[in-house]
């Protein structure tokens, strides 16, 4: 008899272990899989590593509080290696092999442009940090959401500011790809109504070693340069312009992870129109408390540097907010699987969020027509040894100046 009881208890225990225990808590619930293609290596590695850091922190934060709609979140990151072809391959792997429900994309605009039609084919919603204008325009579709302002919006803010402070004659220089053209061409378009004349423009390959041939084309009448370059190219351009004796302001599209001293003796001539403030005190008062809390969680100090001192805060909040946009969409639409993608899209189309810990870069609207977030834009300047915030142009000021040129809502979704 004793032996039979023991045997029964053993079988019961075995059955519990096999089927019962995973049902406790959220462990038995099918996890929500979020994939990310971030550029952890190559020229954009500071952006990719930074966004990966904040996205991972957001997933940890959410999982500690019960996950998304009661489902734990699994986060899988792949290295896009700052190469669109590699990134597209990694995107397919995340969707087809890892069965990711949603995918975050890096700031590599070429990657986003390549992935957008595939995302539609594979019925997978993507969030991108790429800021080239066409992503939420003619090259976009209903499957893509952009959780960060784009180059066109930054150019509008930049033009408004430049018209007041920098002069009437500009010269455009940019990297010869999607984003570089976006910055310069849009600036030109925005300058005309403000009375600023674009004296000329020139584009160079990404990774140009020597800008001297390009800088020699800058006319003497130019009051300032608008430059669509990022990371290493910004540092080269600014330093080589100084070496050649050019002493005019240079307005760049990003200063992510660039230190004041690396801009060389001409640092104080550098301006930037971007999507976040580096220093905490550059955020408006209604945003600052949430930004402070967010920085504590992800490990950024008040000056805007991570613990390694290698990644700055200007841009990388997009990883954090990307995860929270997914959370918002899933919870508000009751999304269970990709069959509910349409409900998810409808939930986010036109969604408004206030400044909060979930959205620490400020209030924003996910515009219904083109899935473009309209948030705040910041004007930064290198000054007295630091990158300081000179102005914050609120999203509501940009919204009327930047109408959508597509309406994805007319598209059918599987």
């Amino acid at each position: 008899m004793k032996g039979k009881v023991l045997a029964l208890i053993s079988i019961l225990a075995f059955v519990l272990v096999l089927f019962g225990l995973p049902g406790l808590g959220t462990a038995g619930v099918k996890p929500l899989r979020i994939g990310a293609v971030y550029d952890l290596t190559g020229a954009l590695s500071v952006y990719g590593s930074g966004s990966n850091m904040t996205a991972k922190a957001a997933v940890e934060y959410i999982n500690k509080r019960g996950g998304i709609a009661g489902r734990p979140v699994e986060y899988i990151v792949e290295d896009g290696a700052t190469d669109a072809a590699t990134g597209i391959r990694k995107f397919r792997k995340l969707v087809l092999k890892d069965r990711c429900d949603f995918v975050l994309l890096s700031c590599n605009s070429a990657l986003a442009v390549g992935v957008i039609p595939i995302a539609k084919q594979l019925n997978t919603i993507i969030f991108t940090e790429g800021t080239a204008r066409q992503i939420t325009g003619t090259k976009g579709n209903r499957y893509v959401f952009r959780q960060i302002n784009n180059a066109e919006m930054a150019a509008i803010a930049m033009a408004k500011f430049a018209a007041r402070k920098l002069g009437k004659n500009a010269f455009g220089m940019g990297a010869d790809y999607e984003w570089g053209h976006s910055v310069v061409d849009t600036a030109e378009k925005c300058f005309a109504p403000l009375g600023i004349k674009m004296l000329g423009k020139i584009f160079s390959p990404i990774g140009t070693v020597d800008f001297v041939p390009y800088l020699s084309k800058v006319p003497k009448e130019a009051d300032f340069i608008v430059a669509g370059y990022f990371t290493a190219d910004v540092v080269k351009l600014v330093n080589q312009a100084w070496e050649l004796g050019l002493r005019i302001p240079i307005f760049v599209g990003t200063l992510e992870s660039i230190r004041y001293k690396d801009l060389g003796p001409g640092a104080d001539l550098v301006w930037c129109g971007t999507y976040g403030s580096r220093s905490l005190d550059g955020y408006p008062e209604d945003v600052r408390p949430f930004q402070k809390k967010y920085r504590e969680i992800v490990g950024l100090d008040e000056e805007g540097w991570d613990r390694s001192g290698k990644i700055s805060a200007d841009y990388i909040w997009a990883g954090w907010e990307g995860i929270f946009w997914i959370k918002k969409g899933v919870e508000e639409s009751g999304w269970k699987s990709k069959k509910d993608n349409l409900k998810f899209m409808e939930a986010l189309e036109g969604a408004k969020v206030a400044a909060s810990l979930e959205f620490p870069s400020g209030p924003k609207i996910m515009r219904a027509e083109d899935h473009q977030v309209i948030g705040d834009t910041y004007i930064l300047k290198a000054e007295n040894g630091k990158i300081v915030t000179k102005a914050c142009i609120r999203g509501k000021e940009i919204l009327p100046l930047y109408p959508p040129n597509v309406d994805f809502r007319k598209e059918k979704v599987r």
Binding site: T41, L44, P205, D210, A232, K236, S257, L263
Partner: protein, 285 residues
Amino acid sequence: MLNTIALSLVNGVVWGCILAMVSVGLTLIYGQLEIINIAHGAMYAIGAVTAFYVSTLLGSWAYSLLISPLVMAAIAMAIYGSSLRYRIVGYPVAVTLIISYGFMFILEQLTLLIFGGAPRCIPNPLPYEVGLFGGKYPIYRIFAAAFSLAVIGALLAFLGKTKLGLWIRATNQDHDTASAMGVPVPTVYMFTFILGSILAALGGTLVAPMTSITHNMGAEIIIDSFIVVIVAGFGSIPGTIVAALILSLTTGFFSVIMDPVLAKGISLAVMIGILYLKPEGIMRY
């Protein structure tokens, strides 16, 4: 216009000299060991990164002209000793090509890990300009070109006038006979690999104050270096100098009169034209 052309030509000569020095390293390694060293660009980047740390820690970039070659000598010795030395004689070129490709990744990712992905810069060690053709030109760039030429000159003297140089040339011609004559061929191979690698690192060190320093900056120069080495004639040092100058000067000249991107295309077309006329390269030796 003429002034701008003249300045662009000067700038072309400057970059041509630096490119020549880096490419001579590549051609030395190929000519001697038949190794197509894909990791050469990563070695160039390490030279620049070392210069950054030396400049930051010791307060002067000038020390890096000594320290960068020493650091690179140690790295090159480790690379050679760990794998390449077992795969040179009697193996197809593809084997060492794959090995060096692997080392390129290792070196680049290690540099990213240590240095980070953000671009850095070194203050110009000679922050003066000289009046040239109605414009201003940085003195440091002229120094960098002169230094590169001096290094190449010293290398040619070393190869032509010293016993080790003689061994290198003898091994280059016929390593079996050289070995039979008592030349320590394995040591010559290792020394040549280290010497070529040092030239890449020196290139990075010299360029560091002129540009931004990044973990992947080697990609900026490696393609031009390979073009130069192929057009020069594999293993030819004088040919390498000539080819580097042709590439840089044509780019500099055409970039004044047209879009610089198109100018680069034209300069590459010129290089293809040379190869068409002289498929064996500009010079044999």
